[in-house]
Amino acid sequence: MSHQPVKFYQTGTFTVGNRLLGEEDRSVQARGDRSNALNSGHRACQGCGEALGARYAIDAAMAATLGRMVAANATGCLEVFSTPYPETSWQIPWIHSLFGNTAAVATGIAAAMKVKGKSDVRVIAQGGDGGTTDIGFGCLSGMFERNDDVLYICYDNEGYMNTGVQRSSATPAAARTATTAAVGPEPGNVFGQGKFVPAIAMAHEIPYVATATVADLHDLEAKVTKAMSIHGARYIHILVPCPLGWGSASHDTIRLARLAKETGLFPVFEAEYGEQKSALAIRRQVPVEEFLRPQKRFAHLFGAKPNVQSLARIQAQANRNIRKYGLLQEEGIHA
């Protein structure tokens, strides 16, 4: 595990903080003076997982770098809702890149900082799954293979949400989007397509790759903090449920992230130089239906005649993740 859970009998380390925990065992988000890198007044939808994930990650990075950092941001939800002209929600130096080149822009910023002798200023690139797994993939791969000193954070909400919920290469099989209608013999997104970029990042054998969700704050913060302690290309892929695109209740954002992990559909792990080092073990395993049922994008799998075949295929994906990443082991895989 990336962090040692405190044996604390009331709530363990699952809660954000706790009055009875020592300061060192509370999350950055529990601090009264957290930086709130993404400020109030942003236009994200009610219950936005990406707004949450971005504040979690950047606040942790701010704490790790004592605020000495710059962020490049791909076009996408995060950019649109945080910076409608002439306002910004960002309380850090922040630059909006094109949709597809944020990794390259970040590489440039890192080079510029080096030239200016400000090597203590750290650089983060961030974007959604569209800007990362599809449009910005070439620049991202280049940043990885050159081992540029950038932490790239992908906030994965599994589709192009602010343009009207179109499919991306991170959209899961069977999900209904504007471009993968729930019609035909195999309704929704096609099985066997798409890609899992954390595995591709690992294939570049960069120093650090991790996945996280907005449901486990301590794990997410520990991973960002660790990433900021390393130089070279780093990649963190954070699952951020999207009430709009997933057709879920705004209050279910964290629950769905938790279920994605507890079903095994979204493996939460860490890798160094291409090798998996740990996995966050499933605590209360549940069948994939628990995760799928509250989402309207999977509604066509249920109803009077459930699509048993598709459900079985999705469960098989979860089972394969559990096996592949060792998600049922008591403590996950150790370094």
């Binding site: 009331q10 363990g12 809660t15 009055r19 942003h42 994200a44 009610q46 306002e87």
Partner: protein, 542 residues
């Protein structure tokens, strides 16, 4: 060239703080305090979650002070209360109920060890209240009345204070030094205790002492009799007399084989006492174990100690050195019916444990009283039909436990206080219950219950040493921290952390949180992720 810059690029960077997203909201989160099931179930009206909150941080004195706001007898409670709080505890649905009773005992014992005293009343109302009976109900009333500034005198018929706690509950469940310490602490508030003072007529006693009001809590001490044809030499006694004589110099002479007739807690207490005196107790009860009114854990402990129990049997007659029992069978309604099958058992004596009646002679000639089924009827304010005379405990219709008695004492004290000022006491409306469905149990760590040590079986069969041990500081803290804090914020920071709009303001330790409705979009994440159900969504007024 700057004058030719596009206008837009000449503007300063604005902050999104100017955009009040609170206007999107159709529902708003509101912090609430819900009623934890433990508090709801407590017959003494303790704020259990409230005192556990202080115990969780290791502030035992503050926890004890919070506890004794409602119940002045925690060390006793921690031994004799049947803890309905634990039956109601939400944690029971998760792993096992919080050991509330054991933490209560720890706090009570800690208070005795450290000599913690109650704060003296700060004012004197000039009113005098007579409390009749120094049992749990009378002591509780005296404590609360004294703290409210009234002059209290307890008149007790017996030679010691404690009532059924002394004369009904054996030492192995409640050591007498514990009882004495908690009684003395109440007397130290300035309460007068007159022992061996039987109130023969309440009106005379009120007049004689110029009392403004009275609280009657004489208990139920007269053992119920059942007609059993018996030979002259057969010894038939009642259970309460047996238990009472255990407090005197002369221990009861019951012979070796003692039959105890009845299936309540008193029957169990007598049987276990007989075992400790070296006898061979046999309980005879007309119904089955699951129908017996005694608490199952007490039956279990008695069986462990070697008490024999004959279920589905009634005593038909008692001869010399034996009894005849008839076997019973339960009918479809669960009532025992005779079978005509008889059996003779050896018995040197028969102890009747068939319940107790109230001695109501002190109320003779009091106008306006209503007596029904041998108990005094009281209103919701615990007042009898005679203005100024209140009653509680076993002498009024209720479940007869120490904790209920303590609750009656508190309730009566509050109404007496109001009545003395010609006012009506109106309790604050109760919060809605924090049921299990209100909790987000993901956030609670798995933690098994701490089990209290039990005395070894040989000493349980041969001595009156206390059977159940207590917790020490480390495991009391562990146990307190198992509390889920149902319905009441325990400052876990979840709402503050999970808000995507930073619309929760952290007010600092002990001050909880506040919503910033300028930015709260009403997504409800804080409500969903609050572990303890202390936030509620309410519709916005449009």
């Amino acid at each position: 060239m700057s004058m030719h810059k596009p206008f837009a690029t000449t503007l300063d960077v604005g902050s999104s703080l100017a955009n009040h997203t609170g206007s999107w909201r159709t529902e708003r989160p509101v912090y609430v305090d819900r009623l934890p099931p433990c508090n709801h179930a407590c017959p003494a009206g303790e704020d259990i979650q409230g005192w556990l909150f202080h115990a969780e941080s290791g502030n035992y004195e503050k926890a004890w002070r919070a506890l004794t706001e409602n119940n002045p007898l925690p060390a006793i409670m921690g031994r004799v209360c049947y803890h309905p709080c634990e039956s109601a505890c939400n944690r029971g649905q998760l792993d096992a109920a919080v050991g509330i009773n054991s933490v209560e005992r720890f706090l009570g014992d800690e208070a005795i060890k450290r000599g913690w005293a109650f704060a003296k009343p700060t004012m004197n109302s000039g009113k005098r209240v007579l409390v009749v009976g120094a049992g749990p109900s009378g002591l509780s009333a005296a404590y609360h009345l004294a703290r409210l500034g009234h002059t209290v005198e307890i008149q007790e018929a017996g030679p010691f204070a404690g009532g059924m706690m002394r004369f009904g509950i054996p030492k192995y469940r409640l050591p007498r030094d514990v009882l004495d310490a908690e009684v003395q602490r109440i007397l130290d508030l300035g309460v007068t205790l007159k022992l061996n003072t039987k109130v023969a007529n309440i009106e005379d006693s009120l007049k004689a002492g110029s009392f403004d009001a009275a609280f009657l809590a004489v208990g139920a001490h007269i053992g119920k009799r059942a007609f059993i044809p018996a030979a002259d030499a057969t010894k038939i006694v009642d259970a309460i007399s047996v238990l009472r004589s255990m407090e005197g110099e002369e221990k009861p002479m019951l012979g070796r084989r003692v039959v105890v007739y009845g299936g309540g807690n008193t029957a169990i207490d007598v049987a276990r006492t007989v075992k400790r005196l070296g006898g061979e107790p046999l309980i005879v009860y007309r119904r089955t174990r699951d129908k017996a009114p005694a608490h199952d854990f007490e039956i279990e402990e008695a069986l462990q100690e070697g008490v024999m129990i004959k279920w589905l049997s009634t005593i038909k007659q008692a001869g010399e050195g034996n009894i005849t029992v008839e076997k019973m069978a339960l009918d479809e309604k669960g009532f025992p019916q005779p079978t005509g099958e008889f059996e003779t058992l050896e018995a040197d004596s028969v102890v009747l444990a068939l319940g107790q009646d109230v001695d109501l002679s002190l109320l003779d000639g009091v106008p306006g009283l209503e007596i029904k089924d041998g108990t005094v009827q009281v209103g919701p304010n615990m007042m009898t039909g005679r203005a100024g005379i209140f009653a509680g405990g076993d002498m009024v219709p209720s479940e007869r436990t120490v904790t209920v008695g303590v609750g009656h004492g508190k309730k009566a004290a509050r109404h007496i206080d109001a009545w003395l000022r010609s006012e009506t006491y109106a309790p604050e409306p109760k919060h809605e219950i924090a049921g299990f469905e209100r909790l987000n149990t993901w956030y609670y760590h798995d933690a098994p219950k701490t089990v209290r040590p039990m005395l070894d079986i040989i000493r349980r069969q041969s001595s009156f040493d206390e059977v159940q041990g207590g917790l020490d500081e480390t495991n009391a803290l562990f146990e307190a921290r198992r509390c889920l804090s149902c319905g009441n914020c325990f400052e876990c920071d979840n709402c503050y952390g999970v808000c995507p709009d930073n619309a929760v303001i952290k007010l600092g330790p002990g001050k909880r949180f506040q919503f910033n409705y300028d930015y709260c979009k009403g997504c409800g994440l804080c409500v969903a992720e609050c572990p303890c159900g202390a936030i509620r969504m309410e519709a916005e007024e449009i």
